[in-house]
Every structure is written in C-alpha cells, then in structure tokens.
C-alpha cells in the first residue's frame, strides 16, 4: 500500500451543514500533523437534494480522492441509499435514528452500525443547520478523533457567540452520549502529532485568488457562475484590504470588456467563470488578442454543453478554450494540476500576460476549483513581478514618435498606458498597422493593406517561441524508462500520480506526462516524450479525448490507449491503476 488513509464521508440535504462538517474535521486534522483532501458533491439547489462531503485523511500529503469509506455519517435517507456499496469491511456507519432507516441486508458484512438521534437532538428552527455538530461529536466518539481539536476549530469558524455556544454544546452532548455507549475508547487509526507546523486548507479557487493578490491584481470583474464564482467572492471579500476593485458585471460580455479596459489602462485584471460564461466572452477574447491587451481569465469547467451539470466536474472545454474566437492570435492556456500550481501558475500567468501582451486563460474544473487540500504555506519569497515592455514617461520622452504596435524582433511592442505624457495612441480591435490605424478604405493606406495585414499577424505569432521557452509547459513524473506513459492535463494530476505510486508498489514502471501549457502547444517537448515512450495511456475527463487529438495534430503521434471518463465525477487512483494494469497485461 502506498500510504495510510482514513476516508470519512458526511452526507445530508443541502442546508444541514455537511460541507462545514468536513471542513472542520479536515482543519482539525491539519493542525495535528495529518493531511486532508476534501471533495464535495452537491446539486444545483439551495435546500434539499443530497450534499456529500468526503474527507480523506492521511499521515502523508494527499492529492486525490477515493471512495471506499471507513466512516459514513448520514443525515438523510438518500445519502445512505447511494453509499451502501462504498462501505469497507470494518467501516463505521452513523445515521440519524429518526429520519433514516438502514436496510441491514444491504450493509456489507463487518460494518458497524450506529443509529443515533442527531437532527432531533437540536431544538428550534436551527435544528437542521446545527445537526452537523452533533454528527461530528458522534464521529469523534466512534472513531477516536480528538473532539477538543474540533472544538478549537469551531471557535475560529463561528463568530457569533451564541451560535458558537450552541454548536459546542451539541458537539459535546453527542460526544458524551455516544461515548457512554462504547465499551472502550477507540483509537483513531492515524497518528496525531502535537507540534506540527499548521497547514492551510485551500481549494483551487482559493489558491488562484491568492496567486492573483500576490501578483498585484487590482481589478476583477465577473458574473456569478459555478464553479468559477468562488474566486470572485474571495476577491470581493479581500478587495478593501488589498486596494483591489471587484466589479460585478451585468453579464460575462461586460466582464471581459471591463477587464480589457482595465488592462489597457494599466492594471493587472482577472475574471472567473465557467464554460457558459466563457462562451459569452469569446468575442472579447479575440479583442484582447487583436489589441494586445493583457488579461487573465479563469475558466473552471463543469459538465456541458449548455447549462449542462452546473455543480459537477468535467474536462470538456479544452478544445473550445484553445480555439475560441474567430481569426488567429496567440493566447496562453494554462491548466494547473493541483493547489500549488493553482497559486504559482496564476502568479506566473499575470507576468506572462504582460510580458507577451496577450490574454491568458487558466483552465481548471469543478473538482480542482472546489476540492480542498491541506497544503503547507506557500513559499512566495522568490516571486518577482515582471511587466515586460510597459514603459514610463522617461522612456516615452526619449523614444518619439511613439507607436503602440511597432514591429519588433520578438513581436512585443512597447506599451504605454493612458495618462502618460508622450504615449497617446489608439488600441484597436481592427487589424492595424504599427500606429494602430485601420487601413481599409483610407487612401493613404489602402494600397498597403495586404502587407500590413500579413506583418501584423506575423508580429503576433513571433511571440510564440519565446513563450514556449519561458514556461514549464510539460512535466514528466516517474521513471525515465517506463513500460507505460500516462498522459493527462489539469485536475487529473493528483489521481494519476497516486496511481503511479500504487503501480510502482506492484512492480509496474509507469510514468506520467502532464501537459500544463496547452496553448501555445509545446509540440517539440511532447514529441520528445512520445518518441521515447513505449506505450501511452491518455487519461481525460471528456468523451472525445481532446488532448489526444491535440497531440496528434501537433506531433503526429497517436495515443495507444485511453481512459476517458465523462460521467460528471472525478477520477480516482484505484480506477486509474486498474486501467494501467489492463493495458499492461
């Protein structure tokens, strides 16, 4: 086995607080030396339905999700119905004795069953909201998880003294009641340590937001859309303290255009959305490309097409994001694979957007955006702001006449911003010459239109080699000589890496090619890996194997096998391992 893990899941109707139950357990674990990974599943509604929060705990860092449960706590019938088969032998099943009926025949052998009054233990109209506290109290009593640590976390989570007091009382009451019924105090299966450095519990959205703040982003705009909104909420929350303005827009079209206005006027700007909102932004994406305005946009994918599955995960937008817009222009598409990459690649994205004066898209998905992981504090000391050819008034004074789109060897022109002396210019969505003037129809320019058009597009694409030289476009993990190379991008990274560890434990040599920069496509680097690879397995969260198509188009190589999953749920390491073994057998 790769590592010791303990997996607990809390389930109930929306509004019962099962998500915060998971967060409290994970935070408490993180303060006592353990590592946690939280995956949430919830439908698109406010009350009712089924919310589940799965917390995977370990004594080693975790990057993925697994479904075989050691503990299941449920506050609604539905959350039990869907999970009977996920209970491991020896697992603990806790359910609300009044509202849930367990079908003993369906409970796997060896599972310990504990019906406890959880919801009814709470009086008044806040009954359901606080039932999670009773559930965690029972969880601690049944598993040996330190209840004092939960209480400590609660003290930080609830700001209202009365709410805190009621929750603490429920926690304690359930803990005492359930403990009294136990013959011996259980020992939690993972080791706690007292003097561990605290860790953060972060979602991908949190990490991207923090990367933006660190990068000096001063303007954000957007329209609410799950799962991207978390970034906008984070930035709105911290706007005043970091001197940042968040503007909610009337639609995503406005959002992208506001960001372009901000980028043109000289600040670093970010937006966040999902596929549907990004669809509305596409025309403006082309505007940013044509006018060479730096902007950063996060596209957190969900199931699609159309409204699709608003709260579930998918990797179906890769082709769309890489090719979106009429015409041709270079753009950056970065797909971070974990929490660290969410932070550091977002920081880098702001530098790249300004150095190369183009739009940059961070492509995540619901699983990465919403899942929380315990992470050590970021080491941000070495991070340096680079703004490329953004000029000051001194430079402008010495370099008249100023031309915004002057032809240069590297394709990047000097950029002045409104308000500077000597930098007046036109930035434009039209195809244009060095001075930004649109040639068509003007007597002085009409004759040279074909040359101006060609030169303008050549200028944009001269940036590409320098971009590829500047970015960590691919990463290869695992043994250099491998029988199989798994190929993937984005949020599958954690599950694939864990599958590699499991494979190694079984004597299989498997490597992993992570394509982190998808546009401009790192064709040479990918080709070099494929040239040496014995066999390849594509792992992607979509139906058509979009990365595989992109690799074939750019390198001529075809992946040998694929594991495509498009059922709206994330990949799990054990299933990837099974597919690896199938391919290698």
């Amino acid at each position: 086995m790769a590592q010791n893990c303990y997996i607990c899941q809390f389930g109930g109707e929306a509004g019962y607080g099962v998500m915060s139950a998971g967060v409290m357990v994970a935070k408490a674990a993180g303060r006592r030396g353990l590592w946690a990974f939280i995956a949430n599943e919830y439908p698109s509604l406010i009350k009712g339905g089924l919310n589940t929060c799965l917390v995977r705990l370990s004594d080693q860092p975790l990057t993925a999700y697994e479904e075989q449960l050691d503990f299941l706590g449920v506050l609604s019938q539905e959350s039990l119905e869907q999970n009977y088969t996920k209970l491991k032998p020896g697992a603990i099943l806790l359910y609300d004795a009044d509202t849930v009926k367990a079908d003993l025949a369906r409970i796997p052998a060896g599972v310990q069953v504990f019906p406890v009054k959880l919801v009814q233990s709470v009086s008044g109209d806040s009954a359901k909201v606080m039932a999670n506290s009773a559930m965690i109290g029972a969880f601690c009593a049944l598993t040996g998880f330190p209840v004092d640590m939960i209480a400590a976390v609660m003290r930080g989570e609830f700001t209202h003294p009365e709410v805190l007091a009621r929750n603490l009382a429920l926690l304690e009451e359930a803990y005492q009641k359930v403990s009294a019924g136990q013959s011996a105090a259980p020992q939690f299966p993972l080791p706690f340590s007292e003097n561990d450095r605290p860790k953060m519990l972060l979602t991908g959205n949190d990490a991207i937001s923090m990367g933006a703040v660190k990068a000096g982003c001063k303007f954000a705009a957007g329209y609410p859309m799950t799962p991207g909104s978390g970034i906008l909420i984070y930035l709105a929350d911290h706007a005043a303290e970091y001197g940042l303005v968040f503007k909610q827009s009337e639609d995503e079209i406005a959002a992208m255009n506001m960001l372009i206005g901000a980028g043109f006027a000289g600040v670093r700007a970010i937006g966040a959305t999902s596929g549907g909102g990004f669809s509305l932004m596409v025309e403006a994406l082309g505007f940013a490309g044509q006018a060479e305005v730096p902007v950063v946009m996060v596209e957190a994918q969900r199931g699609g097409p159309s409204t699709g599955l608003p709260t579930r995960t998918a990797q179906g937008d890769l082709n769309f994001v890489v090719f979106a817009s009429q015409g041709e222009f270079p753009r950056l598409v970065i797909a971070p694979g974990d929490i660290d990459e969410c932070f550091f690649e977002t920081f880098r994205a702001f530098n790249l957007a300004e150095e190369f004066q183009l739009p940059c898209i961070i492509l995540s998905d619901k699983y990465l955006a919403d899942s929380a992981t315990t992470t050590p504090f970021f080491d941000d000391k070495g991070l340096v702001i680079r703004r490329g050819k953004l000029v000051d008034e001194g430079w402008l004074a010495a370099n008249q006449p100023y031309r915004r789109y002057r032809q240069t060897e590297d394709g990047v022109s000097w950029r002045a911003v409104p308000g500077q002396k000597g930098g007046r210019h036109i930035a434009t969505s039209y195809t244009h010459g060095e001075d930004g003037f649109y040639s068509s129809g003007n007597h002085e320019y009409a004759g040279t239109e074909p040359e101006v058009t060609t030169a303008g597009l050549d200028k944009l694409f001269r940036k590409v080699p320098d971009i590829l030289a500047a970015v960590p476009a691919i990463q290869l993990y695992g043994p250099e000589e491998a029988d199989l190379t798994v190929v993937g991008w984005g949020s599958t990274k954690g599950a694939i890496l864990e599958a590699l560890t499991l494979a190694a434990a079984e004597g299989l040599t498997v490597s992993f090619l992570q394509v982190r920069y998808l546009s401009p496509f790192p064709a040479e680097a990918v080709e070099a890996v494929f040239k040496k690879a014995r066999r390849t397995l594509l792992v992607e969260g979509n139906k058509t194997g979009q990365l595989g198509l992109m690799i074939r188009a750019n390198t001529g190589y075809k992946v040998d096998h694929s594991y495509l999953k498009y059922d709206s749920r994330p990949f799990v390491p054990s299933a990837i391992l099974a597919r690896i073994k199938e391919v290698l057998s």
Partner: protein, 286 residues
C-alpha cells in the same frame, strides 16, 4: 481648440455626413473644456460613429460593436483621474449594447457618453435601427410596411435608467452641440447626449430639413425644470412635430467610484505591485 488634437488621417465618412459636425464639435469641446489630451481617453464602438477615434489625437480604444461602456468602466475604475468619453452609434448603444447602457446609468460612473443617433445602420448600408421611426423604409424593413417596431427614445431611457445628465443636441448646430458636450464632460456622473445626426446616404426620412423643421429648445417649453425628474421625463416623451433639444435633466448623485474606499487615494494603476504580503491570507486559511 486643444493643441495638436488633429491627426493626418483622411476620414472615410461620406460627404455631408453628420459625423463631421460631431467631430468638429468634439474638438471644440476638448478645447473649451480645457482637457489635457494625455489625461483623456476616447472609447469608441464599431460603426461609422466609432471611427471618430481614428482621427483624434488623444488616448483612444476602438472596442467591439456595442461594448464601449464596459471597456470605459474598466478604464475609469483603473484610473479614476482620467476623463473618459465613450462614443458610438444608435445601433451600437441602443441595440447590441443596450444592457450595458442601462447598467452603466444605474451605476452612475463618471463617463460622458455621446450617441451618434442617425436612426439607421449606416456602415452596413441601411438597415433599420432601434431608433428608426415607425414606418421607416430600410433594407430590413421594406415598403410598403416599413418599420413596425416602436423606436427607443434615448433621452427617456437614460433618465429612467438613472443617468445623471441627459441632453439632446443636433449635429447641424455645432456651437450648441459643443456646449452640451462640455457640460457632459464636466458633469460628475454618467452623462448621456443623444446627438441627432442625418445619414445622407441611407436615411432619406430624417434629413437635415426634417430635423430643422422640428427641433425646439427644450428650455422654451412649458414646465421645463432640469432638476425635476418627472417633468424631464414628460418633456423627453415629445418626439414628432416637436423634437426638443437641450439639457433635459441633471442631478448630482455619488458616482460608483465615490462609493469605493479603495479609490479614495491614488488610482489602481498607480499602486505598487512588488512584494505584496499574503501572510495574512495564508494564516486565515490555517
């Protein structure tokens, strides 16, 4: 006239186009308002109107069709010390860009918005626009029926949506147009000017003589009081035998930027980016 406002590019507007009057009035307004051209941004849409930014030597951004106001919003919030002027046609602003118009008005951003209203799509060669009169015969609304949709009244819509300076002018009177432009630029808030502009090539209904027969100073009409929203809306509803011109409504209300403590001091663009500490953000997550 402001110094070195002219560029040497030849315009592509038709001879007699109402845009020439707007162009000349805008240049005069830049001078009369004493604008520093390096602290001024002209944000234009796409269409004949939008081309005005190609001929004026200030900071300019030629946006997408219909998207002037969100771009102007981003610029204004990034550097709230700049004078931001948005311009576009009636199709640009009242058709594809209408959503932005309403929301920019209710936000009361300090932006002057000049709408070149020729009641037709000119650059695409003569289709009906949201401000085309009932019965107007165009390429998309052929005879005998002509246009059957009620037209949008820009002045009324702007007052209703919350713009804090709303006026109408005529490109045939450059002096009055420039004067209203100066007032709009100086107004602290969202200032809308509906500029009546003949399209000599494609609009054969709303011609120079047609306008001249109808235009009337709004200030001469009974009940005129630009501080009174109800009265302004009532006068704004007039469109037919009489078309009132002038300032319909003014109000001073805090702008969107005024509400943000982040913009009380230096602009966002002037803030330093190096060595921002996120230690507190990390602690908060532990």
């Amino acid at each position: 006239m402001a110094q070195d406002v002219n560029l040497n590019y030849k315009s592509t507007w038709c001879p007699g186009c109402g845009n020439f009057g707007i162009f000349n009035a805008l240049k005069k307004a830049f001078g009369d308002a004493g604008l520093d051209l390096e602290q001024t941004v002209l944000v234009t849409g796409i269409g004949c109107a939008g081309k005005i930014s190609q001929y004026l030597n200030t900071y300019r951004i030629e946006t997408l069709h219909g998207r002037t106001l969100p771009v102007a919003t981003g610029i204004k919030l990034t550097n709230h010390r700049l004078t931001v002027i948005a311009e576009g046609g009636d199709g640009d602003g009242m058709g594809i860009g209408m959503g932005h118009f309403i929301h920019t008005a209710r936000r009361n951003l300090d932006i002057a918005y000049f709408i070149h209203n020729n009641q037709i799509y000119g650059l695409t060669k003569g289709q009906s626009s949201p401000t085309s009169d009932l019965g107007a015969v165009t390429k998309f609304t052929p005879a005998p029926l002509g246009n059957v949709e009620r037209s949008i009244n820009i002045v009324q819509t702007a007052i209703g949506a919350g713009a804090t300076f709303v006026a109408r002018a005529f490109t045939g009177d450059i002096q009055q147009l420039a004067d209203i432009m100066v007032q709009a630029i100086r107004h602290p808030g969202f200032a809308v000017v509906d500029i009546l502009q003949p399209c000599v090539s494609f609009n054969h209904l709303n011609t120079y003589p047609w306008y001249r027969q109808r235009i009337t100073p709004v200030a001469s009409l009974p009940g005129y009081d630009p501080a009174d929203r109800e009265k302004a809306l009532s006068l704004a509803s007039l469109w037919g035998e009489k078309i009132p011109l002038g300032v319909f409504f003014t109000e001073v209300r805090p702008t969107f930027a005024d509400s943000l403590p982040q913009l009380a001091g230096p602009t966002l663009a002037a803030q330093p980016l190096d060595n921002i500490s996120i230690a507190a953000l990390m602690e908060e997550m532990a």
